[in-house]
Symmetry: C2
Subunit: 314 residues, 2 copies
């Protein structure tokens, strides 16, 4: 930490960069840090590949966002990013900076830096920024707290994922003491559903069928429906859990037709079935309770083949 | 707190009672406290009106549950209960006990007790039990931690409701340090969906319609569908949010036909509409952003009347 503090104190102009498709942890960490550096009278700019998603437009600090015009910065701080490729066009800002800092909580990180701080036990990069701001002796203001709270709930699924630690809660206790509208933030981050997502959820429920005494749930989305919904990748997120969460279900299979006759399959298990092993039969892979694969052919035929494999291990 | 500690130390046999339809806070507080009293070598019994719901069957401490056979206890501790009526048949155990303690976090509490501890700032009774166990100098074991964690997430909606405090997070940090399977607990408490609920959700999505440039979402469930689903009261919970969470929606109206031609209406607003005022036109009431009422007549006619009122304040 000492080397990071020195690098920051020795810099005048500081650029903050993060990964493309920046999420709540990437953006909350960036804006939170920007406020802290601004309090230290640094010239701070945040660079993003894309506009801030509408869902996160409530985050304070967006006045720190700049257009890159080829300037060379005293220091570039790269947050929540494990690889130069994930920086997109912002890679140039990092490469050209006089000094470089990388702060990240991903298990594998290939970044080169003068100051490298990787803590894979941190549930979110936002937790590390919290510690850095404290170490810089900067007050955690309400603006910083809103950003870091958003960062932490994004990467812990609202303290629900197993990466959540006692420290996540201790830090959050301090952030809540800054009188932030946390219930509104949660609602904005987790509860807003797009038209596309709503349509896909409806279809997923309509197509849901149960097999083997309700122990296996199967649902699917056809290419036609996906096109109608004008769906983005994150609209599919969680649809496999519709079946998984149903009482009595052990295995949930969800198929989406990516192109005519080609299905991307997701498998989830609740208690005992090893779905990675089933996925591997179809040249896929994953974890014991969450795996994926691809399969070609008609819907009924594909479902039949996969069900036959699931039946063997139920 | 000192009077409570004395009452506990002076008792040999201790009964724990809580409200009917006991939820995660009621049960987690009861079993958590039972383990602590057991560690102090008290003869502990927990009395419940109903069996433990399947969803909460993972809670340790169910061996403390007893059948009441008219015994008189040295001390009865009543948890999370604001009124004798809510104790159901267990009211007798409380009334007949030699000494009485009530511990609760509800704003209004009418219980009579030798030791009364009401803390309306506590997000859950489980938080108060945590402090009591600490004050009794009993170790927070893994079993106690599982129970109190369940209590806290139940009453804070997983740290999402505005009643969550910095202290909720500080206590939770300590509970997580006891190596509890919190991600599994969250899944059991929040993610398990009954067949009835799934069916009602499907119907709610199918019936969803938008009005006034997508600013108002309306959905409904007909008596016939509710009967088919064999639905319980909590199966309806949250269905009004299906419309509320849709992007661009300000007001969500959800109607369920309780008996032929009689609809129970729920209204939710996101940002600015005062739905309590709309509900009051139909002799209902509630809060600014969450209200309810009843209306008689046909579905289309009822929706039309309510939409006309919403339109005036959009």
């Amino acid at each position: 930490m000492k080397d990071l503090i020195d690098l920051i104190h020795n810099a005048n102009s500081i650029a903050i960069v993060t990964h493309t498709s920046a999420d709540g942890d990437a953006l909350g960490s960036s804006f939170g840090l920007a406020f802290a550096l601004d309090a230290l009278d640094k010239k701070v700019s945040v660079f993003l590949e894309e506009p801030v998603p509408k869902m996160l437009s409530f985050l304070p600090g967006q006045h720190f966002i700049s257009e890159y015009r080829g300037e060379r910065y005293d220091l570039c701080m790269c947050l929540d990013t494990s690889d130069m490729k994930r920086l997109g066009k912002c890679a140039d800002i990092y490469s050209s900076a006089n000094k470089k800092i990388t702060i990240d909580h991903h298990t594998t990180n290939n970044m080169q830096a003068d100051g490298l701080w990787i803590d894979e036990r941190a549930s979110a990069t936002g937790e590390m920024i919290y510690k850095l701001v404290k170490a810089l002796n900067v007050d955690i203001t309400r603006e910083i707290a809103i950003n870091l709270y958003t960062a932490i709930i994004t990467d812990t699924g609202g303290f629900r994922y197993s990466n959540t630690t006692p420290e996540s809660h201790i830090i959050t206790a301090d952030l809540l003491s800054k009188d932030i509208p946390f219930a509104d933030i949660v609602k904005k981050v987790f509860d807003t559903v797009s038209y596309s997502k709503m349509f896909l959820l409806k279809k997923t429920l309509q197509n849901l069928a149960l097999y083997f005494d309700g122990k296996v749930a199967v649902s699917y989305l056809l290419y036609e429906d996906i096109k109608t919904a004008d769906a983005q990748t994150d609209d599919f997120e969680g649809l496999v859990n519709v079946g998984r969460n149903l009482e009595g279900v052990e295995v949930s299979l969800f198929l989406r037709e990516e192109q005519s006759g080609v299905f991307k399959g997701s498998l989830r298990a609740n208690e005992y079935v090893d779905v990675a092993q089933i996925a591997s039969i179809f040249s896929g892979g994953g974890h014991k309770r969450a795996a994926g694969f691809s399969v070609e052919g008609g819907l009924d035929e594909s479902v039949g083949k996969i069900l036959a494999e699931i039946e063997k291990v139920l």
